[in-house]
């Protein structure tokens, strides 16, 4: 038997493709298909969830959390009854202006803490924090915030968001399963959250537009409605880039509103004094 001792050829056992090209191709495939799947599921679940009747949503909300905010006579809210009444009245007026469907009802809760926030959740509950209310200069600004939240409820945004979240977790959980690797799950979850933020921004824009219409209907003009966005700009001058945030950029919201209000103007309605510890300007 004769043997040879050749030089072993190099590069037989590995590919000469550039690793970055390989990586970006895979990333494109995975992120692209995740985004497409998530968008599809979001659209479908958003459409289907809005068929859940409002009464079911109210029952769900009642069963979930809000034990201490019993407006009928919990000790917590006795101290703030005037604020509560005023807000509830304003909400009722704005709901009429917005033509809220008859089966939907709004319950406003006044929360006595410094958080600068107001939000709408399941069952038609709106929570407004003293921190935000103190900063609003007049009733028109307050009405803008209120109308924005009522618009969310009118569009069924809280239950749509909950339904979408649930659908996505279920779907991705079944597809990825326990996951043989933790890193690709990170990529998929980042893509999912970026896609869901885009849908959330869309909801916010529609709520803004509806709120502007409501104010026009109720007051006949849009003066003072931009106050909220001006305050937000003052509060946080540096913002996250739009694609990372659940709301559109404050500047854009301001501009859209200014475009709408260019047509009419009028006198702003002041807030009732001695409420929320604020001096009306």
């Amino acid at each position: 038997m004769s043997y040879q001792n050749p030089q072993i050829p190099d590069g037989v056992n590995y590919s000469q493709d550039h690793p970055l090209k390989d990586f970006f191709l895979m990333l494109l495939v995975v992120a692209g298909s995740t985004a497409a799947l998530v968008a599809l599921l979001f659209m479908l679940s958003g459409y289907l969830v809005s068929f859940i009747p409002f009464s079911t949503e109210v029952a769900l909300a009642d069963s979930l959390v809000f034990a201490e905010d019993n407006t009928e006579g919990g000790d917590v809210n006795q101290a703030h009854l005037p604020e509560q009444k005023y807000l509830q009245q304003l909400a009722a007026q704005l709901a009429v202006a917005q033509q809220l469907p008859d089966d939907m009802s709004i319950t406003v809760h006044y929360v006595d803490d410094d958080t600068v926030n107001a939000f709408a959740t399941l069952g038609g509950h709106i929570y407004m924090h003293r921190g935000l209310l103190e900063k609003l200069p007049h009733e028109n600004a307050l009405a803008m915030v209120m109308a924005h939240e009522i618009a969310h409820i009118k569009h069924r945004d809280p239950i749509i968001a909950a339904g979408r979240g649930f659908t996505i977790i279920l779907a991705l959980g079944s597809i990825l399963g326990m996951g043989n690797s933790d890193f690709s799950q990170q990529i998929v979850s980042h893509t999912t959250s970026l896609t869901s933020l885009a849908f959330s921004r869309d909801q916010e824009q529609q709520a803004d537009a509806e709120a502007a219409d409501t104010l026009m209907q109720h007051y006949g003009h849009l003066s003072g409605s931009a106050a909220l966005f001006e305050i937000l700009q003052q509060e946080s001058p540096v913002e996250l880039p739009e694609f990372l945030s659940s709301h559109p950029v404050t500047n854009e919201r301001l501009q859209r509103l200014n475009e709408l209000s260019r047509l009419q103007s009028g006198a702003v309605t002041p807030l009732p004094t001695a409420l929320f510890g604020v001096s009306s300007q």
Binding site: M1, Y3, N5, Q7, I8, D10, N13, Y14, S15, D17, P19, L20, D22, F23, M26, L27, V29, V30, G179, N180, S181, D182, F183, S184, Q186, I187, H190
Partner: protein, 149 residues
């Protein structure tokens, strides 16, 4: 914020990983040329030749995976197909192990190794069993020419 950290780790892993890999391959090629004359056989029995003493020689190499390779491999786990990232890794480890075995043989004065075998192990970390390092162990029987008494 998570995304930024992720991207930073990814680029650091990629840059340093590629650097280490190309330096290692250059070293491997240079030493392979140098040790060309040490013959390795996978057969159990040596070819006929002068009387020789036998001794076990071995070499092992442990190569770690960098962050970029781990991400690329986990994406590949979703899609399927050749894991290009790990191919170079195992190739380097294997060739390095064989070279170290040859160096061991040279130290003992042998120029022939028979019954060469390779064993690969992955050193994993944590519950999720992700491959952290790969280890290749090469061993064989070196034929040291017997001293003429």
């Amino acid at each position: 914020m998570d995304i930024i950290i992720f991207l930073v780790l990814l680029s650091v892993g990629y840059v340093f990983g590629r650097l280490a890999e190309s330096r290692h391959f250059n070293s491997i090629r240079e030493r392979e040329a140098r040790y060309q004359k040490i013959l390795c056989f996978s057969e159990r029995l040596p070819p006929p030749g002068p009387p020789a003493d036998t001794v076990l020689v071995s070499g092992s190499a442990v190569i770690a995976v960098d962050y970029f390779k781990m991400i690329a491999a986990s994406l590949r786990n979703l899609i399927g197909g050749r894991v290009h990232a790990f191919e170079t890794l195992v190739e380097r480890a294997r060739r390095e192990a064989i070279l170290r075995m040859k160096e061991d043989a040279i130290r003992r004065g042998a120029s022939l190794i028979v019954n060469v075998k390779l064993e690969t192990a992955s050193i994993t970390k944590g519950r999720k069993q992700q491959a952290h390092c790969v280890e290749v162990y090469a061993y064989g029987t070196a034929m040291v020419p017997a001293e003429k008494v």
